[in-house]
Amino acid sequence: MPPGGGFVLPRLDGIPKSYPALANEATAAAVARTLIETGIAKPERWAQAKGSATEFVRATLDDWLDRHGRAQVERNFYLDIALTDRADPQSWHDGEGWAGPQRLYISVDVESAGYVVFGPTLRLLEQVHPRLPATFYQGFVDSIERWVRVYDYRDGLERVEQIKEWLADEPEAEYEMPDVEKAIPACVKRRPLSDRTLCRMARQARSSKRKRLLEGLLTLMENANQAERPTADDDCEQLQDNNPAVPALLAVFERRDAIEGCFDEEAQTMLEAPPEPNVILPLNGRDTVSVASAFEKLASMTETLAAASALIELMPGNERTEGERR
């Protein structure tokens, strides 16, 4: 057909007109009822929602996050938390095979990675005990990784191995290999101290700066251990084509070190396919026990990240301009 004049129209058939987190008002209303029955939602919020159950659920989640450390979390982490009817909130379903309000999810996605520099803190702690830097690093990263993905030197080392494999297949290719091994301080490789010794050191620390750092670490570890992150085995099928979750935090030893270089390079392809959410908490929207349990787990996550965020601000070398993010 020869080109003519006038409008060119995009094809809209099959494209949904909107992408609400919950498929319809009936589902939202069912969950909203349960949220009130568990005491998570406030009935007085209903008037502000102007008759929309979807808006009521969204406002309830917002209020709840405000009460569980959101302001502190958002200073160093960039998350998108939603109550949704899909394990993969980036996807869309046409209702086929959908279980209704009985199978919903709280999903935690990452908008961009937070950033923490460890080097200056580790040097400060090494003055107290040679094994304290490894204790601090491992305690910090393991606590956060109970909930969300951290990109650190181990990912950097993996990246280097990957590059070596590629280069083996293409021996003529020229590539500047990042020296991740050299970027890792020797003190991090030592054996960490026991939790008991860490508690004793926190009590006995003479410098207030070191005391606050160790107490901050203990709070972080305690919050991280409040609940178990559920495995989403049943929902993995929905996520099999997704990329791995986007890291919620980039942990480096020095600004612009080789680990950061690896991350920057890997970040170019992290969103080539939709990434998995960092956390998926399944819940039955009609069951008060199930809803309360999912929100308790979410509390453990937000309180862990709030403690991590507060600790990052105590760590020397992490002073940065407002809004800096990876």
Binding site: P3, V8, R11, E25, A30, I36, P43, W46, G51, F56
Partner: protein, 74 residues
């Protein structure tokens, strides 16, 4: 306290009605209103006619449609 308990029961009842399809949600109501209100429909038609008249009066620039789009309407 009695008011709060009463409010809770009222809200639970309203949400229950929406969940069970006994009451229209606000979104359903908006579409329903559009279908019922002739003034609203006439206003939409006036806007649509205004856009069409504007299109007729200007010189169009021809661009090839991107792949997957409908062919141009003459």
């Amino acid at each position: 306290m009695a008011n709060m308990t009463e409010l809770r029961e009222v809200v639970l009842e309203e949400l229950g009605a929406i969940a069970e399809g006994r009451r229209e949600s606000i979104q359903d109501q908006m579409v329903g209103r559009f279908l019922k209100w002739e003034d609203w429909q006439r206003a939409s038609q006036a806007v649509q006619r205004g856009i069409s008249a504007e299109e007729r009066n200007r010189q169009p620039a021809f661009l090839s449609p991107p792949p997957g789009w409908l062919p141009p309407l003459s």
